[in-house]
């Protein structure tokens, strides 16, 4: 309910996003925007702590 924020974008940009999103196979322009931003953030954010990763994977039946 309170998990999202509205951002204003130029309408011509929205139109370009809408066209490209459909061609690229996104389910919506919102998905395309989210993906573009996530790719940028991945370059900036730190990698996860190794020990935390190992703990989270513990118990996954397909692997030892």
């Amino acid at each position: 309910m309170f998990g999202s924020t509205k951002i204003k974008l130029d309408s011509s940009l929205i139109e370009r996003i809408r066209k490209f999103a459909e061609i690229a196979g996104y389910s919506s322009p919102e998905e395309f925007i989210t993906h573009a931003l996530e790719k940028e953030l991945a370059l900036l954010e730190d990698a996860e702590d190794e020990e935390e990763i190992k703990k989270r994977l513990q118990g996954l039946g397909y692997m030892s």
Binding site: M1, E22, A24, G25, Y26, S27, S28, E31, F32, H35, A47, E48, D49, E50, E51, E52, I53, K54, K55, R56, L57, Q58, G59, L60, G61, Y62, M63, S64
Partner: protein
């Protein structure tokens, strides 16, 4: 005559009302996030109850306005063709076994459904693995458009594996109050499956969906409907399932990944012992010490029985018998607790005493993480059916693999989880006047995995069989599924459409293939000088001299410059050449020990997938032959050892093979024109059944239209 189905108001309002009743008497349990390195919500228990009740009340009061708004905003332009669309999923149900049993008359309800409508093999995804296949079922897209290629992904910055379907962040901002530190926000929890599931699209058109335990729904979607999440919901420790074995036996070897061995200490008399149950990490204190609960056990060796006292409960156990669910509440700080459920087995009561405790599931009545939509749906189900398993992979395969439990205990776990699931299905089906319903049953997949060794002479894991009584476990499971289908058939009407499907089949897993060992032999992977190749997670690898590596369960990544942190292969022509060279060598790879072909083909994923996320896939996807799968060591990033090894674990059947070898099944109460349906066809089909044109990004095709109904 086709009628416009009315919006399904009943479930939403009743669930909300039930939630208010539930929460009015809730004890003080934190709306807490749990997991390694993560923190808890700032709100104390009373504030959580108050806010939740407020939200539920607002939801009820706002419902008329939201319904009108929804009807205005999403006026339907075409009429639904059906009243209800029902999907029953049996994860892992194999086509070859199903066809044989139908021919033998052992699955009468499947046969009835096939005769009434149709039976087809159902093509599965590349790879043929649960998170990928169900994501394609949900979204109607190939993996390049939904971003799930495996259970695991790798972080190209570190080469370490991570869960592909869920991101769970850490809390890094605290308010310090003496010894305490109060997390100032909840950690970020995100579902990484992309595209849009069909139930969300139905909801945008004011059509209700109930979605029960479809894999890759954690955290749950938000849509017009109700959903109980499934894979990969963690246990209360934040892992994918960590059991505990309390034992007086001295520690020898630690368990591989799946469990903890904890000491059981004598306390007074010869039959009296105590131990400490390890709970989630407590982020309220520096260093995140684990929350703990004392456990006391009184053993009566003459009767082969014991009484366990934990968390104010007294549980009577007979040797070898699985207890009912036992609630555990761990104290975080004063006034704040985290709740879980577990089941126990007294596994030894002789010279040594041992007690198995299952992974501690998140308590559905007081979930410490978001496991359902609406948030109180899990509580609603608990009030209706009692406590139930919430862990993504709920059946404890690792305890059986480690021989901590036995075939009987595992069988009981799988059947009980299926029982819980069928009760959820019954409730949802009885209440659904119009809309869609999907329920996935997991036992078939688990039973295939763990009892396959009973079905093959000479299987390396057959040496460990302890009870020939389970020789027909797989058949018994399929017969049970047939019973479920029969009960659903008794409840559906002429204006309902029913699909029974599976996401993939199963085959033998006799020999493991260590791709990293093969890459090392062939010169594509190099080790650091002096490194120990038996270290997990590729820690021994010299990335500056490595052109390819294997992480996860399905394939090989190239070490590409600009993509991986220490990439050496130039993207473009060089990468394509290396990829083609590796693929050429792996195609038809023979296991010298057996003379069998181990790998049918290594698929180029650039050609296999289309969509914005295909760059996240492994570069090569393995198509293992019958009997072969990635080895246990390779899946953990161990490079040491031979390329091929026997699989001696109880986990003796698998489906992470050439997808052409393990199709799933599809039955419908209407005939479909297609002779070769694919699991991606389900999403566009359900949309069409409700008069909604499938969006252009979906890869699947509609199987049923007006004419075929």
């Amino acid at each position: 005559m086709t009628r416009l189905p009315r919006p399904h108001r009943r479930d939403g309002a009743l669930i909300t009302a039930a939630a208010l009743v539930l929460l009015a008497g809730s004890p003080d349990t934190a709306d807490a996030y749990i997991g390694p390195g993560a923190g808890f919500a700032v709100l104390g228990s009373f504030a959580v109850i108050f806010v939740t009740m407020l939200l539920a009340g607002v939801s009820i009061l706002a419902w008329p306005f939201r319904t009108v708004w929804r009807m205005i905003r999403h006026r339907r332009t075409s009429k639904p063709l059906v009243k209800r669309a029902i999907f029953i999923g049996f994860d892992g149900q194999d086509a070859a076994i199903t066809e044989r049993m139908m021919a033998e008359g052992k699955l009468p309800n499947y046969s009835k459904l096939a005769e009434q409508g149709c039976y087809r093999k159902l093509r599965t995804t590349y790879p043929s693995i649960t998170p990928v296949a169900w994501s394609s079922f949900s979204t109607g897209t190939n993996p390049g458009r939904h971003n799930i290629f495996d259970f695991l992904d790798r972080d190209p910055r570190t080469y370490l594996p991570r869960l592909s379907s869920t991101h769970i962040g850490s809390v890094d901002r605290f308010l310090k109050l003496g010894k305490l530190r109060i997390p100032l926000k909840k950690p970020d929890i995100r579902l990484l499956r992309k595209s849009k599931p069909w139930w969300t699209i139905l909801g945008e058109h004011n059509i209700w969906s109930t979605v029960i335990r479809v894999p890759i729904t954690f955290p749950p979607d938000e849509f017009y409907g109700a959903q109980l999440g499934a894979m990969c919901i963690p246990d209360l420790l934040g892992t994918q399932g960590t059991f505990m074995l309390f034992t007086t036996r001295p520690e020898t070897e630690s368990f591989q990944e799946g469990g903890m061995r904890l000491p059981l200490s004598r306390n007074g008399s010869a039959g009296s012992f105590e131990a400490t149950v390890k709970g989630p990490e407590n982020a309220f204190y520096e260093g995140n010490p684990p929350m703990e609960l004392p456990l006391h056990i009184e053993v009566d060796r003459a009767k082969a029985a014991a009484t366990v006292a934990v968390n104010g409960s007294r549980v009577d156990l007979q040797l070898g018998e699985l207890s009912d669910w036992v609630k555990l509440e761990f104290k975080a700080i004063a006034g704040m607790k985290v709740a879980g459920l577990t089941r126990m087995v007294l596994t030894e009561a002789g010279e040594h005493v041992s007690l198995y405790m299952s992974p501690i599931n998140i308590e559905p009545g007081k979930p410490a993480m978001p496991i359902s939509h609406p948030s109180y749906y899990s509580s609603y189900l608990e009030k209706k059916i009692g406590p139930y398993a919430t862990l993504g992979l709920a059946e404890d395969t690792w305890a059986l693999n480690e021989k901590v439990t036995d075939d009987g205990t595992f069988w009981t776990q799988t059947q009980d989880v299926d029982d819980e699931r069928e009760r959820m299905l019954d409730i949802a089906l009885d209440r659904l006047r119009s809309g869609a319903l999907v329920t996935v049953f997991d036992a078939t997949d688990r039973v295939n995995h763990m009892y396959w060794r009973y079905t093959e002479d000479g299987h390396p894991a057959a040496a460990g069989i302890d009870d020939p009584g389970y020789a027909d476990a797989i058949e018994q499971q399929y017969i049970r599924n047939d019973g479920i289908v029969g009960r659903v058939l008794d409840k559906i009407n002429d204006d309902d459409v029913l699909f029974v499907l599976s996401d993939h089949g199963c085959t033998s897993f006799r020999r493991g293939v260590n791709l990293n060992a093969w890459l090392l032999e062939e010169g594509y992977l190099a080790l650091k000088d002096g490194a120990d190749p038996s270290e997990p997670w590729l820690q021994s690898v010299d990335w500056a001299r490595t052109r390819a590596y294997a992480v996860g369960l399905v394939g090989i990544f190239l070490n590409v410059k600009g993509r991986e942190a220490h990439g050496v292969v130039e993207p473009g022509d060089e990468a394509n050449a290396v990829k083609a060279e590796i693929a050429g060598k792996l195609k038809g790879l023979v296991d010298a020990d057996t003379g069998d072909v181990a790998i049918n083909e290594a698929f180029d994923t650039d050609a296999l997938y289309r969509g914005p996320y295909k760059g996240n896939a492994p570069d090569l996807l393995m198509g293992y032959n019958h009997g072969y799968r990635i080895s246990w060591d390779c899946a953990s990033g161990v490079v040491a050892g031979g390329v091929f090894e026997d699989n001696v674990k109880a986990w003796s059947g698998d489906h992470i093979v050439d997808p052409r070898l393990v199709p799933g099944i599809m039955l419908c109460n209407h005939d479909v024109e297609s002779d070769d349906p694919h699991i991606v066809d389900m999403a566009p089909t359900v949309l069409s059944l409700f008069g909604i044109r499938p969006p252009g990004h979906m890869d699947g095709s509609t199987l049923l239209d007006k004419e075929s109904l």
